[in-house]
């Protein structure tokens, strides 16, 4: 194992800083159907599942995806089979990955988040699940459909509720939405609620209209934008949180940088901005060797410059330095 690449999120040790992003790598054995599965799994530090909710959800109307310039818009609608089936059918398959698994959860009310975390804790008899990623971008049904993610008070409540159920047995990551005026406020709220780490960013809200029919392309009309086009936004938000949230600057609360990472220098940008680990999502659809590519390039970069990831985190906030390119 390459020690230079090793990072830590709370008590979970990641052998590389590369994570899958929720919703882009499935929730069971999909990676095992790939020829290069061993290389992929060797390059990953942890596996983040697709969003899981209490009950089965059929997802949104079609079309669910549309390609835009340098990215995609999607509105899958959190299709999943519910937490019980997830543990019955998918988790046994996930064991084969031999990676720390983080379950992404979503719910429509604060109490539902609590119930969901409690169930995960109870089902997790083999301790395959090492962490929970709270998706606060889902609509809060009780509050008329507005997303939790934009309201600092609600985010704090949700995180508190989850924390009160799982205590210290699972690592809690809160995934922040970029669709807010000041992401640092939300980040601080999550930290007040007791989160162990922050991940950002979720997709940016967006839409596409078919000028020939005059109608929105997506079945759900609006969707989430992801892909290379959102990377500058993601890097900025990581940078802001690292700078403005003291717990982040002190590296007590690690940040997982997500959004448009397509190669090694993209990943480095996030790390320099303040991310401890990075999530790769949409690019995995385009390039199925992305994890091993970045893993290899990153290792070479660190060796060439005699560096470690730990040491590079947040370097963009300090003095400038000259390094051999990635």
């Amino acid at each position: 194992m390459n020690k230079n690449l090793r990072v830590r999120i709370k008590n979970v040790v990641l052998k590389t800083p590369l994570l899958t992003s929720s919703g882009t790598s499935g929730s069971r054995d999909e990676i095992n159907l790939m020829q290069n599965r061993n290389k992929i799994l060797a390059s990953l530090g942890a596996f983040v599942t697709k969003g899981v909710s209490i009950n089965e959800s059929l997802g949104n109307k079609e079309p669910r995806i549309v390609e835009v310039r340098s990215g995609i818009l999607n509105s899958i609608g959190l299709q999943n089979k519910g937490v019980r089936k997830f543990f019955e059918e998918d988790v046994p398959e996930l064991r084969k990955y031999e990676l720390p698994v983080v379950v992404n959860i979503s719910a429509s009310s604060v109490s539902e988040f609590g119930e969901l975390s409690e169930r995960i804790l109870n089902y997790n008899t083999h301790s395959i699940i090492k962490g929970i990623e709270i998706n606060v971008s889902c609509p809060n049904i009780k509050k008329g459909g507005a997303a939790f993610g934009a309201d600092p008070l609600l985010v704090e409540q949700v995180v508190k509720e989850v924390k009160s159920k799982v205590h210290d047995s699972l690592c809690i990551i809160t995934k922040l939405s970029p669709n807010v005026t000041d992401i640092t406020q939300i980040g601080k709220a999550a930290i007040n609620g007791g989160t162990d780490a922050l991940s950002m960013i979720n997709t940016l809200r967006g839409m596409a209209i078919d000028v020939h029919s005059g109608m929105p392309v997506l079945g759900n009309q609006i969707g989430g934008l992801s892909g290379p086009c959102i990377k500058p936004v993601g890097v900025y938000m990581v940078f802001e949180c690292f700078r403005k949230i003291p717990e982040c600057s002190r590296k007590e609360i690690p940040i997982v940088g997500i959004g448009g990472i397509s190669n090694c220098s993209d990943a480095l940008e996030y790390i320099l901005a303040g991310a401890t680990a990075v999530g790769i999502g949409t690019q995995w659809f385009i390039n199925n060797t992305i994890f091993e590519d970045i893993h290899k390039d990153l290792a070479t970069y660190l060796r060439k410059n005699n560096e470690t990831i730990e040491n590079l985190i947040g370097k963009a906030h300090g003095h400038s330095f000259k390094k051999n390119p990635c």
Partner: protein, 542 residues
């Protein structure tokens, strides 16, 4: 391999006695293979013409030859082969994989040249294990095995067990796999760099149908119903990694394109239209005539040349990019994807006819299904719906570059003919427009100004005593109608579903299709649970 365990699975006394015998040496193993093969083909009109005494022990020396073949006079054959069978007019020359590469190469080359693409002399190599068989199927072995067919003794035994099964419960659940859609013998999905060989326009002047021909470096087992995802832009690969160094290499105009025009980002999914095997002539399907029972145990080399057919959409970013690919271009392809439709399992049922019902560009993936079904000697009838006759003809000016597209050559129809379907009795063509073509060059069953489903339901009405299975692909409304029609006659129907996709590997949940399972509604991923889906599972009403 524990052959004696196989005895538990069958009631066939002869087979039981055979597999319980101890095999002491290679000669008795050879004899065992010969004997089990004889059980498999005992009901067929196959005669033994020659046995090579060098290969077998005494237990077989008393075995009498009961047929005659001119090949018994051929020294290269008799010295190198293990035994020689004759099925009607076809010579089946068998050899063992352990006979040595030189022997096999001599024999394969000899048979290949004397056969001269008539497919009346077929060389079959029997391997000990499926690993050896898989190795032989690699295309770089095509020089050693030329145009040979392969099988293993275990495949033969499995086939015998299948036909004389005992209580299914006795068979371990791993072997019992009852579903036709499975991941068995599937090459794992991987990224391949493919080289474009040709990109041929088809149809009328304003038509936007193309046939794309490409080859892969490594051969690839893509089964019917499976699909590939192709990157439609060759320049795209330059932006994959280490961007800084490569950006200077990009031509200025392309660079501008990237800034202002929409270019494709995702790969595009396509069903396979045809595959080609090294050393097999293009029209092998119309000549190859191996009895079903025997064909079901045979394997060929894996294909390394593929064709897809695509229709360019007016505002389609990806399909427009595809048209710009020319010979020599290299693009990335992720393949094979999707569930495998187990044709070997499927053909063991006694079907009278298999029907394909296709509309427009949806006919394309059905053609590959026909190609594979015909290998197993299954009777196929094709019902296809096209706009008009002209949209079948390859565009002029391409006659020299590709043999298959010489003057007046037709897409779909000519390939069906290559697979041995008769233009006069097996192919039914419906033209949506009241096409004014004076003659249809041999196609007898022509329906003008008609949807494909009309003559199809008429055909079913007249032939409702037959055991039929239907495959359909085309516009949603057409497939829905086919489902309604076949449901009337209780005909099992499979749909080749198409959806907008992003990943192709089951992780993004974009390509869902509404299905019903045990009375519950589901959204099934077409790339994972499909693309072949049984029509009764689809929720057609939503």
């Amino acid at each position: 391999m524990q052959y004696n365990l196989l005895a538990n699975y069958t009631n066939d006394k002869e087979f039981k006695a055979l597999v319980r015998k101890k095999l002491s040496n290679i000669k008795s193993y050879n004899a065992f293979c010969f004997a089990v093969l004889n059980i498999l083909i005992r009901k067929l009109d196959i005669k033994t013409c020659y046995l090579n005494k060098k290969c077998f022990d005494e237990s077989l020396l008393s075995f009498k030859t009961d047929g005659h073949s001119s090949l018994t006079e051929d020294k290269t054959v008799t010295e190198n082969c293990a035994f020689l069978l004759k099925n009607k007019t076809t010579n089946l020359i068998f050899s063992f994989g352990h006979q040595g590469a030189e022997n096999l190469q001599n024999l394969s080359n000899h048979i290949y040249s004397l056969d001269n693409n008539t497919f009346k002399n077929i060389h079959i190599v029997l391997f000990k294990s499926s690993e050896e068989l898989d190795k032989a199927r690699q295309v770089n072995k095509a020089t050693v095995y030329k145009r040979s067919f392969f099988t293993t003794c275990y495949d033969i035994c499995e086939k015998i067990i299948e036909t004389n099964k005992v209580d299914v419960k006795k068979i371990p659940s791993k072997k019992r796999n009852s579903t036709l859609l499975s991941d068995k013998r599937r090459d794992l999905a991987g990224l391949h760099m493919v080289e474009i060989m040709d990109n041929i326009p088809v149809g009328k002047e304003d038509s936007k149908l193309y046939k794309l021909i490409f080859k892969t470096k490594e051969p690839l087992d893509i089964m019917p119903g499976q699909f590939v995802m192709i990157s439609t832009l060759k320049e795209k690969n330059r932006f994959k990694s280490k961007t800084i160094q490569s950006i200077s290499k990009v031509k200025p105009d392309i660079h501008n394109d990237l800034q202002t025009k929409q270019i494709s980002y995702l790969k595009r999914p396509f069903g396979i239209y045809r595959t080609y095997y090294e050393n097999f002539s293009d029209d092998y399907g119309s000549k190859l005539n191996i009895e079903k029972e025997l064909a079901a145990i045979l394997y060929t080399v894996k294909p390394n040349r593929f064709e897809i057919v695509y229709k360019v959409l007016d505002r389609g970013v990806g399909t427009n990019e595809l048209t710009r690919l020319v010979k020599g271009d290299k693009v990335e392809m992720l393949a094979p994807l999707g569930k495998v439709f187990d044709v070997r399992k499927f053909v063991k049922e006694e079907w009278d006819e298999i029907h394909i019902v296709g509309g427009g560009v949806g006919i394309a993936p059905l053609i590959y299904l026909v190609q594979v079904l015909r290998f197993y000697n299954i009777k196929v009838k094709a019902f296809i719906g096209i706009e008009d006759y002209k949209s079948l003809i390859y565009k002029a000016g391409r006659t020299k570059s590709h043999e298959n597209t010489r003057r007046n050559a037709r897409i779909y129809i000519d390939d069906l003919k290559y697979f041995g379907l008769s233009e006069s009795s097996d192919i039914y063509v419906s033209f949506l427009c009241d096409t004014d073509a004076v003659q249809f060059k041999g196609i007898k069953n022509v329906f003008k100004g008609s949807l494909v489903t009309e003559p199809y339901s008429e055909y079913l009405r007249k032939h409702n005593h037959l055991k039929i299975n239907t495959f359909t692909c085309g516009p949603f409304a057409m497939m829905q109608k086919v489902h309604t029609v076949t449901a009337q006659f209780n005909i099992k129907t499979y749909v080749l579903m198409e959806k907008r996709m992003a990943c192709g590997i089951g992780v993004c949940f974009s390509c869902v299709c509404k299905t019903i399972e045990n009375g519950e509604n589901h959204n099934s991923r077409v790339c994972m649970e499909g693309p072949i889906i049984e029509s009764k599972q689809i929720n057609w009403n939503e």
